[in-house]
């Protein structure tokens, strides 16, 4: 392992991670000065049309005298609809005409607050900020009209892009009021009045995504679609084993390929790996095809380093052995050992899940133009501030001299929070003094991911006469995300996703955990460690129900009890709660109970009986402050082929801006989850990933995806 210092406390790790812009535990999400005309953070990295519009009450919003409202989305669009949803919040509060609103994508800039689009928290963290942006503009327009017409502001209403004085019948469009409104001070946040829920015009209603037409006509701009004048192309042969270095290079044949101009070796990174490039040999030339062909002609011998030790089968066996041994306690309630010692009926199970690749449809790609100590980057990234950090570190320039333009993302799922590919483009552009586009192949993507980690999970319960657990021990072992940041053990948040926060009401409960050597880069993947923790825990609960010969749903509801807010702190858990305020977003088993009950009703649970190659299962879990229940029907034919004819899901996510996009997320999650459950698997032999492309790493296709969700 490449661990320099294993005595670091969890908190100092988190601070270190925060400074690299990583993951969910953001301390200060919205800066205090967000709504000031001139943010104290300094000049903008890049002026948006919202910035240059005369009426500009917020970094997120500006209005032109022609009435056009520019709304800046600082979060990245990778398919969730967030680029549309946050502006809808501002437009609603402003009572703007949606057809007169233009969305702009914010560059990486701390003045927007946190931009790391992961952790399912964009609405939770920025709903208020976008309401304030809309309400501030509205207030200024109303004040301007009131002064113009010499009437009290209280007599004015705003209706669809116009300020209206009902008494006199006077009306003024937003645009005509902009010059006067722009001279007014931005109102204090505390003086703003927000629309009541009953007056919401866009929030909670269906709205097509802003990019729908560009997507169906092919004009939508993803990272791969960026072309700059004078740009060259680069494709990198990365070390096949993480941490590997070039022992010898023969690039003669590569340089002989028509269109190839040069090769360029990038050194392997020093640990911790963070989001640095893996290094390797870049082939540079005048077309994507030329550099891909040139790469095939490289003759490289590698020094593999210590991570060639990873071979999946023995690694799996070692993890399973480890998970059966006592590990560090993460949560403790009552006395599990005393209960086990009573000699009642005990049920045990071990679960194992393999690594998985994100495999977003758009492979990593970036364009960089680094000249005169300044870097301009265009890339599909979930975290443009991490691009700034990573590129500035790679080039040794100030973060403020890195402009990161965020394109649409052809999928992200967590992979595109980690901008190693942007650093590669920047390093090469600096060397060549011209714009460079780096394109990863699918094989690069599958072979050099920040993988969803493999895990072993152990469960043991003693049960009473009705089969209900009197004591429950669960324990997970996995190579942690922490390893990417220098920690040999999982960071707190990795346990706070289904290991130390299960909601079942069991009197004696203990959760334990340990890390395992990583050997590859580990990263967060949609739902993160919930995937295997939830899979194991809820499968185990189902096993308990079967052992007791009880209905699974009835058994789960019985195990949840009537429901309550669970005080995890009292059970020894320093719970990160996905970065959210625990008082505002408590761990509430009543909400889990409710989604289970509704799922049971809507799916006709209980009226469907398994048999003849047809089965049905149910589970519910709290993930990223959303409570979800799923009922899955499965068919197995005489040849053992599995088909999923139907999945019913119930989700309680809190405030919903665009219900259609929440449904879309749930549909997509079911498909991705089914693919993972059925066949998605990444394995390694001597540190080298065995899978190459979509033939080796299988994902759900139309003919094997759940039919109806």
């Amino acid at each position: 392992m490449m661990i320099e210092n294993i005595s670091l406390s969890r908190r100092s790790f988190l601070n270190g991670i925060l400074s690299t812009g990583a993951f969910v535990v953001a301390a200060k999400i919205v800066p205090d000065d967000l709504f000031a005309q001139t943010p104290a953070a300094g000049a903008p990295v890049f002026n948006t049309k919202a910035d240059t519009a005369p009426l500009h009450p917020s970094v997120y919003l500006g209005i032109e005298p022609d009435g056009t409202v520019f709304i800046v989305t600082h979060r990245s669009e990778m398919g969730t609809g967030i680029r549309t949803s946050l502006p809808l919040v501002a437009a609603d509060e402003l009572d703007a005409d949606w057809s007169k609103c233009r969305i702009e994508q914010g560059v990486g800039d701390t003045r927007y607050g946190d931009q790391n689009t992961d952790g399912s928290r964009s609405i939770r963290d920025f709903y208020d900020a976008f309401r304030v942006a809309g309400a501030s503009a509205r207030s200024m327009l109303v004040s301007a009209a009131a002064a113009q017409w010499s009437v009290p502001p209280g007599e004015l209403t705003v209706v669809n892009h116009e300020v209206v004085h009902a008494k006199s019948g006077k009306k003024a469009g937003f645009g005509t009021l902009v010059p006067a409104a722009a001279k007014l001070p931005v109102p204090a946040k505390t003086t703003l009045k927000f629309k009541p829920k009953t007056a919401w015009k866009y929030v909670g209603k269906e709205q097509p995504i802003y990019d729908l037409k560009p997507i169906v006509t092919g004009t939508a701009q993803f990272g791969l679609d960026v072309y700059r004048d004078g740009m060259v192309y680069a494709s990198l042969e990365h070390p096949p084993v993480v941490g590997g270095t070039v022992k010898s290079l023969d690039d003669k044949a590569a340089l002989a390929v028509k269109g190839v101009a040069s090769t360029s070796t990038i050194d392997a990174p020093k640990p911790p790996l963070l989001f640095q490039t893996l290094g390797g040999v870049a082939v540079v030339g005048n077309s994507t095809w030329a550099v891909m062909q040139g790469r095939k002609q490289l003759k490289i011998e590698w020094n593999d380093g210590p991570h060639a030790a990873l071979t999946s089968e023995p690694f799996k066996a070692a993890m399973i052995a480890k998970v059966k041994q006592p590990q560090k306690v993460a949560r403790n309630l009552g006395n599990v050992d005393a209960e086990f010692g009573k000699g009642g009926k005990v049920i045990e199970a071990v679960y194992y899940t393999p690594m998985a690749a994100h495999a977003s449809m758009e492979p990593p790609a970036a364009v960089a133009d680094v000249r005169n100590g300044k870097a301009e980057i265009w890339c599909p990234t979930q975290n443009p501030q991490a691009v700034q950090d990573t590129v500035s570190a790679a080039l040794g320039i100030d973060k403020k001299n890195v402009i990161c333009h965020v394109t649409l993302l052809g999928g992200g799922f967590g992979r595109k929070s980690k901008p190693d590919y942007a650093a590669e483009a920047a390093i090469l552009s600096k060397r060549l003094n011209k714009p460079v586009k780096v394109v990863w192949t699918r094989e690069d993507d599958i072979h050099h991911d920040f993988y969803h980690t493999t895990a072993a999970v152990y469960h043991k319960a003693s049960v009473d006469a009705k089969g209900k657990p009197t004591a429950w021990l669960h324990r997970s072992v996995f190579p942690p995300i922490g390893s990417t940041f220098g920690s040999p053990v999982p960071l707190g948040f990795e346990l706070d996703m289904g290991l130390d926060d299960l909601l079942y009401d069991v009197p004696n409960l203990r959760a334990e955990n340990a890390g395992a050597d990583a050997h590859v880069r580990i990263g967060w993947f949609r739902a993160v460690t919930n995937n295997f923790h939830a899979f194991a825990a809820h499968s185990f609960v189902d096993e308990l129900a079967h052992a007791a010969n009880r209905d699974s749903l009835e058994f789960m509801l019985d195990m949840l009890g009537p429901g309550k807010v669970i005080d995890l702190k009292a059970q020894g858990v320093d719970y990160s709660n996905y970065g959210a305020d625990i008082n505002k977003y408590p761990v509430d088993s009543r909400r889990l109970r409710r989604v289970l009950e509704i799922a049971g009703e809507r799916s006709n649970w209980g009226r469907k009986k398994p048999g003849n190659g047809w089965g049905i299962g149910i589970a519910a879990h709290r993930s990223f402050n959303t409570y979800v229940a799923s009922v899955v029907e499965v068919e197995v034919d005489s040849q053992g082929r599995v088909r999923i004819p139907r999945i019913d899901q119930v989700a309680d996510p809190g405030v919903v801006i665009n219900p259609d996009r929440v449904r879309a997320q749930m549909e997509g999650a079911a498909v991705m989850g089914a693919g993972l459950a059925m066949y998605g698997e990444i394995t390694a032999t001597n540190g080298r990933i065995d899978q190459k492309n979509f033939d080796g790493f299988r994902v759900a296709r139309m003919n094997d995806a759940p039919v109806q969700v």
Partner: protein
Amino acid sequence: MVKLTVNGKPHTYDGDPDMPLLWYVRDDLRLTGTRFGCGAGLCGACTVHVNGQAVRSCQTKMSTLEGKTVGTIDALAGANGQLHPVQRAWVTHNVPQCGYCQSGQIMSAAALLKATPNPTDADIDRGMAGNICRCGTYQRIRAAIHTAAKERA
């Protein structure tokens, strides 16, 4: 030298005859609606029409295109901007999530409907199995193809 027609315009190509059509339309013609997904004919993101048939442009060498007619997503809508029935159905059903694979999905669906104007679910599954959507929009794609079929009928 290869003479071909792309989106109704004549072109001549004299580069590497092995270069796939994908990189010709993207890098040379800057018709970027056709997406790179796998480079191995496994995902369908790069699907275009050659003489009206859906093909994977990442597996179609330029040398095979002499005299052929290529159509890409960029010109699937009419010259007046009128969307193709498949594109309209995609809008009706709000199919896309990230949208990256949808060019290929739409091109495959358009070719499927040309060959099978009234497809069953099984026809659609068969015809679309070569197009991966990692966001998981399959259910809406299936519904949109049925809608487009009805509209064309």
